[in-house]
C-alpha cells in the first residue's frame, strides 16, 4: 500500500468521526426556539453560576486530592504505599452517578448512616446530626471523588519522570522540602496536572447522571431541557459549544502563561531514578491515613453501600437477569473496541506516513468528540441520520435507514466510537510518539513496504498500547450512561442503564445490584490497566 492509500484511509476515518461534531457546530446556522428567550429571562444566570461553581469546586477538590495523593505515593515509602499506588485508581470504577446514589443513600434521613448509629448506640434522633450531602455539595463531592484519579495518574506519572537530579539540585541550593515541592516538583508537573484537570473539567461539564440525580440546575440541565422540553437541538448544541469554548479558553490561558518554558529534559543519560524517602512514626501514620481515607471514601464507601443494599434486599438480585446484562455490556465493549482500534490504528499510521497538515487538523477535530457531552453527541447523531435519511436516501428512492442506525447496536457503537475516539487515537499516538521516525525509515531501507512496516514492525511494537487502549475503552463503555440510554435498542439494557432507570424511579436499592456489578467489572478492567497506567521507567 502506497502513502496515498494510507492518506485516503486516514482521511475518510477522520471525516466519519467528525460528521456529528460538525452537525453540532452547524447549529449556529439554524433557528432556535423561544427557549433561549425564556431561559434568558429566568434561570440562565443561575445555570451559568451553578456550572461555574460546580466546575471550580470540582477542579479545586480534584487538584487537592489528585496532586496530594500522587505526591505522597511518588516521593515517600510508608506502610501500604505500594498498595495505594494502584488502589487509588480504583475510584475510576465508580461513575459519578453511582457515587451520587451512595452518598445520598448513606446520609439521607433514616439512611445507612442512621442505621449504623442505631445499631451502635440504639434508638435516637440521629437524623438532625447527620450531614446532608445533596444538591451542589453532593454533586461536587460525587464528581470529585470519582474523577480525581485523572489528576492522580497524570501527576504521579509526571512526578516519577522527574529526574532525581532536579530534586538533588534543589537540595544543593538549600531548598526546604516545602520549597522543593513548590519551586521544583509542582512546576515541573504543571502540564501533566493541567492535562488531568482539563479531562476532569470536560467530564464535569458533560456529566449527566449525577447532575440529574441531584437536580442541580446547570447548563447541562439547560441542554437537556432544550432537547426534551423544547425539542430545540440547535440551542442545546449552542450551550454545549459555549461550555467547550469556556474550557478551551481557560486552558489556553494557562498554556499561554507558560510561554516557552519546558517542563522536562530529554533523558539522554540524565535521568536518575527517584529515591523514595522512607517515613517513620507519626509521618508514616499521616501519609497512610490520607491515602486510606481517600481510598475508603472514593472506592470502599460506594462499594460497601451497594454491597450492603444487595445483601439487605436480595430479591433485587434475583429479579435481575445479570447474565443478560453482562453479555449486552461485553457485546458493546467488544464491537466498539474492535472498530475503535481499527480506526485509530489506520488513522495514526496514515498521519505518520503521509505527514499532511490537513490530516493533522482533521485528527485534532476528530478527537474533540471526547469533550462533547454524551447527550449532545447522541442527539447530534440522531439529527444527522434523520437529515441524511430525509434528504439523501429518500431522494434516491431507497428505503429508510433510520432503523439501522437509531435504536440499534450499530448506532450505539458508532456514537461510542465518536465519543471515545480520542482515547483510542491518543492512546495509540502516545505509543507512536515513543517510536522515533527513524525506526520506520530503517524498515523502509531494509526493503519493508509501508504495509509490511505497519504489520511487522508497528503492530508488535504497539501491542501494549493497543491492549491498554482496549481496556481503557472497555472501562469507559461499561460506565457510559447517556449515549446508551438514548440510542440503545428497545429492551436492550446494560448495567449502567438499569442502575439509572431504577434510581430515577426512586428505587435506589434496586439500583444497587447493577451498580455493584458495574463497579466490579470496571474494577477488573482497571486492575488490568494498572500495569500500564502505573508503569515506571525501570520496568
Amino acid at each position: 500500500m502506497r502513502t496515498n492509500v494510507w492518506f485516503i484511509s486516514s482521511f475518510l476515518i477522520s471525516i466519519i468521526v467528525i460528521i456529528p461534531i460538525i452537525t453540532i457546530f452547524s447549529s449556529f446556522f439554524q433557528d432556535t426556539s423561544n427557549y433561549y428567550e425564556i431561559l434568558k429571562e429566568t434561570f440562565f444566570l443561575e445555570y451559568v453560576f451553578n456550572s461555574l461553581f460546580l466546575l471550580f469546586g470540582v477542579l479545586f477538590l480534584t487538584f487537592f486530592l489528585g496532586v496530594g495523593s500522587a505526591y505522597i505515593v511518588s516521593f515517600y515509602e510508608f506502610p501500604g504505599s505500594n498498595f495505594f499506588k494502584w488502589a487509588l485508581i480504583l475510584s475510576f470504577a465508580v461513575p459519578p452517578y453511582i457515587y451520587a446514589y451512595s452518598l445520598f443513600a448513606f446520609f439521607e434521613n433514616y439512611g445507612t448512616a442512621f442505621t449504623i448509629l442505631k445499631f451502635l448506640f440504639g434508638d435516637g434522633n440521629y437524623n438532625q446530626h447527620i450531614p446532608k450531602f445533596s444538591g451542589m455539595l453532593g454533586l461536587i463531592l460525587s464528581i470529585s471523588f470519582s474523577l480525581f484519579a485523572y489528576v492522580y495518574i497524570l501527576a504521579r506519572s509526571s512526578f516519577l519522570y522527574q529526574s532525581q537530579n532536579l530534586i538533588e539540585l534543589g537540595k544543593n541550593l538549600g531548598f526546604s522540602k516545602l520549597k522543593c515541592f513548590y519551586s521544583i516538583i509542582l512546576p515541573a508537573a504543571r502540564p501533566a496536572i493541567v492535562a488531568g484537570l482539563s479531562l476532569v473539567a470536560m467530564e464535569t461539564l458533560a456529566e449527566f447522571g449525577a447532575v440529574d440525580f441531584f437536580s442541580v440546575n446547570t447548563l447541562t440541565t439547560g441542554i437537556y431541557n432544550a432537547w426534551i422540553a423544547f425539542d430545540d437541538l440547535a440551542f442545546a448544541n449552542r450551550i454545549s459549544f459555549f461550555l467547550l469554548l469556556f474550557i478551551f479558553i481557560l486552558f489556553l490561558t494557562e498554556n499561554l502563561s507558560r510561554r516557552k518554558a519546558r517542563y522536562h529534559l530529554e533523558a539522554k543519560g540524565g535521568f536518575k531514578k527517584k529515591q523514595k524517602t522512607k517515613l517513620y512514626g507519626y509521618k508514616a501514620y499521616y501519609a497512610f491515613s490520607f491515602c486510606f481515607i481517600l481510598f475508603f471514601i472514593s472506592f470502599l464507601f460506594p462499594l460497601s453501600q451497594m454491597l450492603y443494599w444487595t445483601i439487605k434486599f436480595p430479591e433485587n438480585l434475583y429479579d435481575l437477569n445479570i447474565i443478560n446484562l453482562l453479555l449486552n455490556t461485553l457485546y458493546l465493549v467488544f464491537l466498539s473496541s474492535l472498530v475503535l482500534i481499527f480506526f485509530a490504528l489506520i488513522s495514526n499510521y496514515g498521519n505518520r506516513v503521509s505527514n499532511k497538515k490537513i490530516l493533522n487538523v482533521l485528527s485534532t477535530l476528530s478527537i474533540s468528540g471526547y469533550a462533547i457531552p454524551g447527550v449532545i453527541l447522541a442527539i447530534a447523531f440522531i439529527t444527522f441520520v434523520a437529515w441524511f435519511d430525509e434528504n439523501i436516501i429518500k431522494t434516491l428512492g431507497f428505503l429508510s435507514i433510520k432503523k439501522i442506525f437509531i435504536g440499534s447496536v450499530l448506532g450505539l457503537v458508532i456514537v461510542y466510537c465518536i465519543r471515545f475516539y480520542s482515547l483510542a487515537f491518543n492512546g495509540i499516538k502516545s505509543g507512536y510518539e515513543k517510536m522515533n521516525i527513524s525506526v520506520d525509515e530503517s524498515a523502509y531501507l531494509l526493503g519493508y513496504s509501508k504495509t509490511k512496516t505497519f504489520l511487522n514492525i508497528h503492530i508488535p511494537y504497539l501491542r501494549n498500547s493497543l491492549l491498554f487502549v482496549i481496556i481503557l475503552v472497555s472501562l469507559e463503555i461499561v460506565r457510559e450512561l447517556p449515549i446508551t440510554l438514548i440510542l440503545r435498542p428497545f429492551n436492550f439494557e446494560t448495567f449502567a442503564t438499569t442502575a439509572y432507570i431504577s434510581a430515577s424511579e426512586d428505587l435506589l436499592e434496586a439500583a444497587a445490584v447493577p451498580s455493584l456489578c458495574l463497579i466490579i467489572i470496571a474494577s477488573f478492567f482497571i486492575l488490568l490497566t494498572s500495569k500500564y497506567i502505573l508503569r515506571e521507567r525501570s520496568e
Binding site: E441, S442, Y444, L446
Partner: protein, 349 residues
Amino acid sequence: MNNFFEIKNTTFKVSGSEKVKNVSFSIKNEGDIVCLLGPSGIGKTTILRSIAGLEKISQGEIILKEKTLSSEKTHVEPEDRKIALSFQENSLFPHYTIEKNIKLSSRNSNRDQININELIKILNLENILNKFPHQISAGEAQRASLARSLNSNPDLLLLDEPLSNVDQSFKEEIQVKLKQILKKLKITTIIVTHDSYEAFYLGDKCGVILDKELKQFDDPYNVYHFPNSEKVVMFLNRGVLIPAKVTSPKSLENEDLGVITGNFVNPVEIGTNVKLLLQPEDLQHDDKSNLKFDVIDIKFRGTSFIYTLKTNTNNLLPVFVHSHHVHQHQINDKFGIRKPIHIEHIVCF
C-alpha cells in the same frame, strides 16, 4: 564506462529550506568509499537521506547503477532502492532484541554475503545479542545498526557518523575492520563524518561541504595537501595562512621567514601578493638556526608536539616536532627554524 553512482547538480532541501546546493560528484567503481566531511548542521545528513529516498529533491538527479532514483519528476521509494542507511542516532527497532534487529533485513543479493556470525564478532556484538536497544550503550547501538545495514546487502551503503559514539580506544580497530569488510564485499559506501582523519582513512574520495556547497571533491591526499579554498583550509584546521610575495616560479618571500622555495600547486604570477598555506610539517626545527621565534603554545599529541610560534609581525606559525626530540621547549623559549625553507607543495590563495 558509466559511473556506478552519480549525483548531478542536485540541490538538497529540508522542509523547503535549502541545505546544500548544486552538488555533483560520482563514484566510478562498485566498492569505492566516499567520505563527506563538513561541520555539524551543514546538510551532510540531508544528502544521505535524499540519496536513501527519505527526502525528495526538487532539482538535479541521483543515479545508481544507471537508474535514476531521484529527480524533479522521479522518486523511487526508499524500500525499492536497495540502499541502506545507518543513522547516527539509535534507530534500532526498540521491541526486538539486537540479534533480531540485525537479522531482520529482508533483501537478497547476488553479491558475496558476509557471514552474520563473523560480522557480529568483528563488531564485538556477541555479548549484547539478547539485549534490547534500551539496554545497550550508544556506541553499541551504533555498531548494531551498522551490522544490520551491512547484513541487508545493499547496492549502496550510507553511514551517518557511524563511529561518533564509539569509544576512542575501540574506534581505530572498528575503522580498520569496517574498511576490510566494505572492501571485501565490494559494498559501495558513502560515509558522512566531521572527523577528517576518519574520512582520510576510510575514503577513496573525500568531499568537503561548506557554506551550502560541495567545496572540494578529491582524493584524501589532495584534500589535505591541496585544499582548493581558504574555507577548506580553515575547516581542516591544519595550517595557517601567512602573507607572502611570489618572487619566482619556484619561490616566494615572507617578511618573517625570508625566502621559501618549492613547487607551486597552481602557477601564480611573479610579484603577486598571496596568502601562503603553512602546515605544521612544512617548517623544521633547528636549534642552531638563527631564525628564532617565541614559543607561545605547546600541544602534545602523543607522537608529536605542535609548537605555536609568534613572529615579529604577530603571525602565528605551527611547527611539528617528533615527541622523541632530544629536548623540549617551554613557553617564551626561543625556537629555531631550519633555513633554507623548502615546501614540497606550495598552496597559496
